[in-house]
Amino acid sequence: MRVLLVDDETEFVSTLAERLSMRNIDADWVGSGEEALKRMADHVYDLAVLDVKMPHIGGIELMRRMRARRPEMKFIFMTGHGSEQDFQAGASEAGAEYYLAKPVHIEDLMRKMTEVLGAGASRP
């Protein structure tokens, strides 16, 4: 499993990547949507874990652009919104079915990763 984590809160995302790596998950991280798109030019990822609210390119838009380049890629969103329901209301129409509220529990994230990658076809 090769995972790209994207969040402008770089202390958060770098530490999360370190913890995933300690659990034998090949995790890279970047601090912006622009960097994520650049990284995709020479790296292949199975899954991206994206923050929803980021400068310039937000998570939903980033998912659209990444999916256009690699349709089989899977996505999980992380949100600092008050509740998952709040996020769901705004993002489900964009195809963002998988999400976690911050703070993220690493066991929940890993369970979700397994679930997403086992889900077969890419999201609509």
């Binding site: 958060f12 999360l16 911050k102 703070p103």
Partner: protein
């Protein structure tokens, strides 16, 4: 049919809601970082229990990072507290520089998420005015939200503050790319009512893209007095 106080109250509540939503989002990010740092420390402890030596330098980095986030969280909560207290008195003598800076801090994260940086050019000293602090915060917030909320291509919004005689002025140049929508906002009933409550005016040059808001130094005395104006 809504009365004027209803409209003002609705605008204030809407602004309060936006600010608290933004703050809670930012606090969630602080908690998320603390959660990961604490989780990584737990991972290290678990590995140490299995005989792997602790990386003291990494632990120092993590604890420094946690202290930094605690400081960040404290600043957020202090700003929230200051913001909440601007609603304590319907009218009060307040520092315009502080009010504008507070509005900018409240909207900083939202603006940054939209790729907009907001800067305040202060005169280097307080600008004390007697006004309706919360109504003024609401109006400034409404304008900032509008400027940062659309894809106007404004990289930086620069807010200047100063006196013109007894009156205080807030000026924002460089808004040509959003002149049309901004002019529409300024012509809305909500903005007109907020301006009327503040006894303030806004001039906006569509061609030049410059906005200037003028406020009385003392709302109770009209446009003739400025309590904090430097001699």
């Amino acid at each position: 049919m809504s009365t004027e106080p209803d409209v003002i109250g609705q605008e204030e509540i809407r602004y309060f809601g936006k600010v608290t939503a933004s703050i809670s989002h930012e606090l969630k990010n602080v908690l998320a970082i603390l959660n990961e740092h604490a989780g990584l420390l737990q991972d290290f402890v678990a590995m140490a229990a299995q005989g792997r030596p602790l990386d003291v330098e990494r632990i120092r980095q993590l604890s420094d990072g946690m202290l930094k986030q605690i400081g960040r969280g404290d600043t957020i909560v202090r700003n929230m507290n200051r913001f909440a207290h601007t609603a304590d008195h319907e009218r009060a003598t307040a520092d315009l520089v502080g009010l504008v800076e507070l509005s900018v801090q409240m909207f900083g994260r939202t603006a940054a998420a939209r790729g907009v940086t907001v800067q305040v050019q202060t005169p280097g000293q307080p600008m004390m005015i007697a006004t309706h602090p919360f109504v003024l915060e609401t109006l400034i917030g409404k304008l900032l939200d509008h400027l940062a909320g659309k894809a106007f291509g404004i990289g930086t919004v620069s807010i200047g503050l100063g006196w013109r005689g007894p009156e205080a002025q807030i000026s924002v140049p460089g808004l040509a790319t959003c002149a049309g929508p901004l002019a529409e906002l300024l012509a809305s009933d909500e903005v007109k009512l907020l301006l009327a409550v503040l006894d303030a005016t806004i001039e906006f040059s569509v061609a030049g893209g410059a906005l200037v808001m003028t406020l009385p130094g003392n709302i109770d005395a009209g446009r003739a007095n400025a309590p904090g104006k430097p001699a």
